[in-house]
């Protein structure tokens, strides 16, 4: 009995860790830069495919390739913000208009990135095998690669937390999230910070993609479902709250694991029921301010 419970909890965390990582990324982009990036999943996909190519083509260990894919996707995100979103922000009459337009722009990006990926890697499903061996934890068995993924994901989130709370740049980001204009008055280079946030969000997506590719197969169309999960999680955790997204991701993973144990057919239904019940009961989420 105990083993079963442990099994469910750890299985839930394994999935939840990845959810948390990608949700934190989206939270940065939406909570701070106010861009509802529905192309978030495409950055995840890019990270996954980059890792795949590095592993199958150059024999680079996926964990090592984290230091390549992360910065690479960061650059893409940063550049996109400086060119596209900054301009949209400048011409938009209101914040709502900017949010609407940037969402549409992300839709366009979704199409472009997916098509480019199909042109480069083909539309087929790809996968590779890495550390696919069992590890025993208190009697229950888990995959080594998924455990590693969990630790790395947690590690990144913790490192990011320290970055936010203990560095000047982190403070600038938090200030911009609370009140962009006042932050600007206080000497924060808003445009730079927002672009950085967007880039960091993309970086997390890229890293998430790398970790996902270790345990799951990938295809160019994989992005959207992760975007949806990230969206659910940031609402669950509270829009704009980064720690909330982290916890929300873990919670969602756990919920999924519990429901799957009962009836796998209901696992997706459960995600959405919880999501919607929460919206009705406490829309501001677990850690959001009421």
């Amino acid at each position: 009995m105990f083993v079963t419970i442990l099994d469910i909890i750890i299985s839930g965390l394994l999935l939840g860790g990845i959810y948390a990582l990608i949700a934190v990324g989206l939270s940065l982009q939406y909570g701070v830069a106010r861009v509802l990036n529905i192309a978030h999943g495409e950055f995840i996909m890019l990270g996954a495919f980059l890792t795949y190519t590095l592993f199958t083509g150059f024999k680079i260990n996926p964990l090592i390739s984290l230091v390549i894919t992360g910065p690479a996707i960061f650059v893409v995100g940063f550049f996109l913000y400086r060119t596209l979103f900054a301009r949209l922000r400048a011409v938009a009459p209101t914040v709502d208009a900017f949010e609407g337009n940037s969402m549409l722009a992300c839709f366009g990006l979704l199409f472009i990135i997916q098509n480019v990926a199909i042109l480069i890697w083909g539309a087929g499903i790809k996968g590779y095998s890495f550390w696919a061996e069992p590890v025993s934890l208190a009697g229950a068995k888990f995959a080594a690669n998924r455990l590693i993924t969990l630790f790395v994901a947690l590690g990144i989130c913790v490192a990011f937390y320290f970055f936010l709370s203990h560095t000047r740049l982190g403070k600038a980001i938090r200030a911009s999230a609370q009140d962009p204009s006042t932050a600007g008055l206080m000497g924060v280079n808003i445009n730079h910070v927002l672009a950085l946030c967007f880039g960091l969000g993309s970086l997390m997506a890229g890293l998430g993609g790398t970790l996902i590719s270790i345990s799951y197969q990938i295809q160019p169309t994989m992005g959207l479902e992760y975007t949806v999960i990230a969206l659910i999680v940031i609402v669950l955790g509270g829009l704009g709250s980064i720690p909330g997204s982290f916890i929300g991701g873990l919670v969602l993973g756990l919920v999924g694991s519990i429901v799957t144990y009962i009836d796998p057919g209901l696992s997706l239904v459960a995600y959405y029921v919880i999501f919607m019940l929460l919206l009705l009961a406490k829309p501001t989420g677990i850690l959001g301010k009421s």
Partner: protein, 408 residues
């Protein structure tokens, strides 16, 4: 700023206009008949594009190329060989788009023939359309018993499915001594049909089905089902799945070290690039829906060689030979008819037997292909052997399956 805005607007207007014009300038000039155009609305993008890429899609391309190498198909009515052109539209993995595009191919582009879309539900949608316009539709990947109910004279079912595969699998299990099994299936037409078919056949052979559950298509973690099956101590693990579920199942079994004496999945093992390519040595002993290999008929090896030469990978060992042979049958029907008239060709296809790469090929009275090269395959030393009971067998089944290799 204003100048840049205006420039941008000009650019946008120009782009849209250009695209519109390009759209309008597609006037067909079909004066003298100099080629056969075959249309296909298929998923080149979207979630199903991956499935198309590993099964079906490429065989049609290969056939067109091979036919054209000989100069085309000889049609007596025109007194010459007509080369074949494959005209494809991307349905974006959306069935509504596929329906529209199929009608567009038939009604506007006026193609001579059509090739099928991918997947059972899609055949369901495409077959009535083809039938409405009296266009022959040779089935490709996919198939179900229910299609017989629709009673469409222009539809030909090519691929085998649960009706013949389930009893074959059950007999194989009986032969090797399987006593109990776990059956899991994807929550869609494919999964449900197989699930509902396999359970009774297994039980008929005296095999106890200890687990019978479905899983939703988007699921990310199948380990609970695997662990549950393991804890029930079943000999055989049977799954009706699509490539995504199959990949997940296999990789999770490996990484959790969960072994069964027999491991069967309907869709996935047949794909050398995806299955063999990803799992390598671990594929040994895995059973899958199928099936054929280079030994399965007079022209089978030839197909494998040609496919490898063109695509650099081996063909799909379930449908590959089926589609190939169906196309060879089709070509001979056209040649015998001497015309491109679909009714005449259809009548010949429905009644005549022709020699093909897998041997004699014909359709039964419901227009279902019956001379299957094999139902169940198993990877043995990198060859997808046909392990059916009976004369189609190319190698005896390997049982129990070796344990998943430890180090990947």
């Amino acid at each position: 700023m204003k100048a840049r805005n205006n420039l941008g607007r000009m650019l946008l207007a120009l782009t849209i206009t250009a695209v519109f014009l390009a759209g309008g300038a597609g006037l067909v000039s079909a004066a003298d008949k100099d080629k056969i155009v075959i249309g296909q609305a298929i998923s080149l993008s979207g979630p199903l594009a991956g499935g198309v890429a590993i099964s079906g899609g490429k065989i049609y391309e290969l056939w067109v190329e091979e036919v054209n190498k000989e100069g085309g198909i000889y049609v007596k009515e025109y007194g010459k060989k007509l080369p074949v052109e494959l005209k494809r539209y991307d349905d974006k993995s959306d069935i509504g788009t596929m329906c529209n595009l199929l009608e567009k191919l038939i009604v506007e582009d006026k193609v001579d023939f059509i090739f099928p879309p991918w997947g059972t539900a899609w055949l369901f949608a495409a077959a009535p359309i083809a039938n409405k316009y009296k266009y022959i539709l040779i089935g490709g990947p996919g198939g179900a018993l229910k299609l017989k109910d629709l009673s469409l004279p222009y539809f030909f079912q090519v691929l085998n499915f649960s009706e013949t595969q389930a009893p074959a699998l059950a007999k194989i299990f009986k032969e090797v001594g399987v006593k109990s099994a776990a059956v899991i299936y994807r929550a869609d037409l494919h999964g449900i049909e197989y699930g509902n078919s396999m359970v009774p056949h297994l039980e008929k052979e005296g095999i106890k089905v200890k687990l019978n559950k479905s899983y939703p298509p988007g699921i990310k973690d199948l380990s609970p089902l695997l662990k549950e099956a393991k804890s029930l101590g079943v000999d055989a693990f049977v799954a009706a799945c699509y490539p995504d579920g199959g990949m997940l199942m296999t990789s999770q079994s490996i990484e959790l070290g969960i072994n069964f004496n027999a491991f069967f999945m309907t869709v996935l093992p047949f794909s050398p690039p995806l299955f063999l390519g990803t799992f390598g040595q671990a594929a040994e002993g895995v059973m899958g829906g199928g099936a054929w290999n280079a030994k399965s008929g007079p022209g089978a090896k030839d197909l494998v060689d040609k496919f490898v030469a063109k695509f650099g990978e081996e063909p799909d060992y379930w449908g590959g030979l089926y589609y190939w042979a169906s196309l060879q049958h089709f070509k001979q029907a056209i040649e015998k008819a001497g015309t491109l008239d679909q009714k005449k060709i259809r009548d010949i296809m429905a009644t005549e037997k022709f020699d093909t790469a897998l041997g004699p090929y014909w359709y039964d009275k419901d227009r279902y292909f019956v001379n299957h090269p094999g139902e169940i395959g198993q990877w043995q030393k990198r060859v997808f052997e046909v392990i059916d009971p009976g004369e189609k067998r190319t190698a005896p089944p390997e049982y129990p399956k070796p344990e998943w290799p430890k180090k990947q």
